[in-house]
């Protein structure tokens, strides 16, 4: 009976995965699904025309070439499920100066203690080098003039790692004051006093433009109130300026950002959080912020817990989803 029930669930979810298709909002865009059979695609990067994809289900990095061949590029990275039940492993990968950089999560409930790759930032050339594992939750990172800017979504900060491997904490993101009326949706007895309620200000994505301005997506902290996500702008952030301003607000759990070749900023939203069902499936969106017009455009909606956004050299935008799908989004403008 139990086996049949599990089988039913498997079929049900398999069906859902097949049926879960995002909707195009801006008709100048179209998309196709990349057929890879990767279970939990997460990190994306491009190496000499090939697309590299990390898989949180097995700790592997795959290479997808122009002939539509999928090959294992590297294997052996830790993977598993974190204490909240989300897949963890090589979150993000980026190819830069002939090296592949990896932000590695992994807090599997069955993990070996003190594994050197546990919550580490790694460099892969021929072998893996641990740049640092003194991190709580390394997530996204970016490069500017050979320096690395690494986001820690546990410590809620950005660390600059210079070319001599010196570490500087650039910015710490302070807690967010929540409105009392928001919290009272959860509990009128526990959040009814006049003291402010603070939630974590969790950075997720980072992008740096040509003049050294840092942009960071702020996911908001648990319980992830609707509209509490934002994009911060830190002018001259690379030189240690800690003053940030809000570029965009009222977002629902923005998980990644990426500068496009036209100078606009692509934003990936995970979606809204349901008090009973976690992050709602098929509630993610791809947005593009036009700096000149100061306008936020919705491109795709109904994405299923998207993870990473990448623009390829040919202009296509690639998105990965926890549902297993990878989308190639093209613009015909």
């Amino acid at each position: 009976m139990k086996i049949f029930f599990k089988l039913f669930l498997l079929l049900f979810f398999a069906n859902n995965i097949i049926l879960a298709k995002p909707t195009i909002v801006d008709s100048s865009y179209s998309y196709e699904i990349l057929k890879t059979n990767i279970t939990y695609p997460s990190g994306l990067t491009e190496k000499k025309g090939d697309l590299l994809i990390s898989d949180l289900s097995n700790g592997k990095i795959y290479s997808y070439n122009n002939q539509n061949n999928l090959e294992i590029y590297y294997e052996g990275l830790p993977f598993g499920f974190d204490v909240m039940g989300y897949p963890t492993g090589p979150y993000k990968i980026k190819f830069y100066n002939d090296k592949l950089y990896i932000s590695q999560g992994w807090a599997d409930i069955n993990r070996l203690e003190d594994h050197i790759y546990d919550h580490a930032f790694l460099e892969l050339e021929k072998n893996i080098t641990v740049i640092t594992n003194d991190l709580w939750n390394p997530y996204d990172f970016s490069f500017y003039e050979n320096d690395i800017y690494l986001i820690d979504s546990g410590k809620n900060n950005i660390t600059k790692i210079d070319k001599n491997n010196n570490f500087f904490e650039l910015i710490f993101f302070d807690k967010i004051i929540q409105k009392q009326e928001d919290m009272q949706v959860l509990s009128p007895t526990e959040f009814s006093n006049t003291e402010p309620y603070l939630t974590d200000s969790v950075p997720t994505g980072i992008a740096i433009n040509n003049d050294g301005t840092i942009y960071v997506s702020i996911f908001g902290g648990f319980p992830y109130f609707k509209g509490s996500g934002k994009i911060l702008q830190i002018n001259d952030g690379i030189n240690g300026n800690k003053e940030s301003s809000i570029l965009i607000e009222n977002l629902n759990s923005p998980v990644d950002i990426e500068f496009l070749s036209d100078g606009n900023l692509a934003i990936l939203e995970m979606g809204t959080f349901d008090y009973e069902k976690e992050f709602a499936q098929k509630d993610g969106r791809l947005l593009i912020y036009n700096f000149k017009k100061k306008k936020l455009n919705e491109i795709l909606k109904k994405l299923d817990r998207p993870q990473t956004i990448l623009q390829r050299k040919n202009g296509d935008i690639v998105l990965s989803e926890l549902s297993g799908n990878i989308y190639i989004v093209s613009n015909y403008k």
Binding site: F81, M84, E190, Y275
Partner: protein
Amino acid sequence: MFFYRLNIIILFFFFLISESFAESLFEKKNPFIFIKGGEFVFGNNRGEENEKPQTLVNIENFYINMYEISNEIFNDYVSLSGNRNSYFYEHFYLGKNTHPVVGLSWKDASDFCKFYNANLPTEAQYERATRGLNGNLYSWGNDEPNPKLVNMGSKECCNPDIKDGYEATSPVGSFLLGKNEEGVMDLTGNVWEWMDGWYYSYKNNNDQEKLFRVLRGGSWKNNAWKLRSTYRMAYNGDFRFAANGGFRCVKIIE
């Protein structure tokens, strides 16, 4: 046709047997303890506004689980029912077999009790079991909570405290000295417990438009004030991410 009907009868018979077997296994692991009904002190005039007024309430006899529902028992239930597991069932600490199950919505908890022909306790049943007939503040009496009596939090609200030996939940039934008069364990502390019914005002019996459910008893994160047997925590019943919210069941046996 005869054999078809016979098969149906046999299948129904096996269904009844398996259901009662599951029920008895559950009760073997977590016995129901008899609580004598009668008139008892309900509410607290010296508590929060929502605990007032203090009144005398009459209640019928009932049975209550000796322990908070553990992960082991909830896992049994998930296997039998096909219902979803708790949010933290794989958690390296909170998901331990002997610890109380946490990370459940009100409906998850209520469905469990109904599966075993029981219910969540009403607020009146919880208070009667916890404070006895004379209106005690805690399950053990009126002494201030301390780490020998209860798994509780720090003095300042609302942080964990390891003086009681546990950084978060403790295995159910770990605090023998904190049991109630009838031997029911952890009615005070360890995890908050979902109650049956909606959150309502004692003063006007208004059920607040059925927006919130109630949890009682305080938890490993709470101080003496919130551990009081009359403290009422109203919460969104859909919320299933609390690492300090669990439950137990009650039965009325005629």
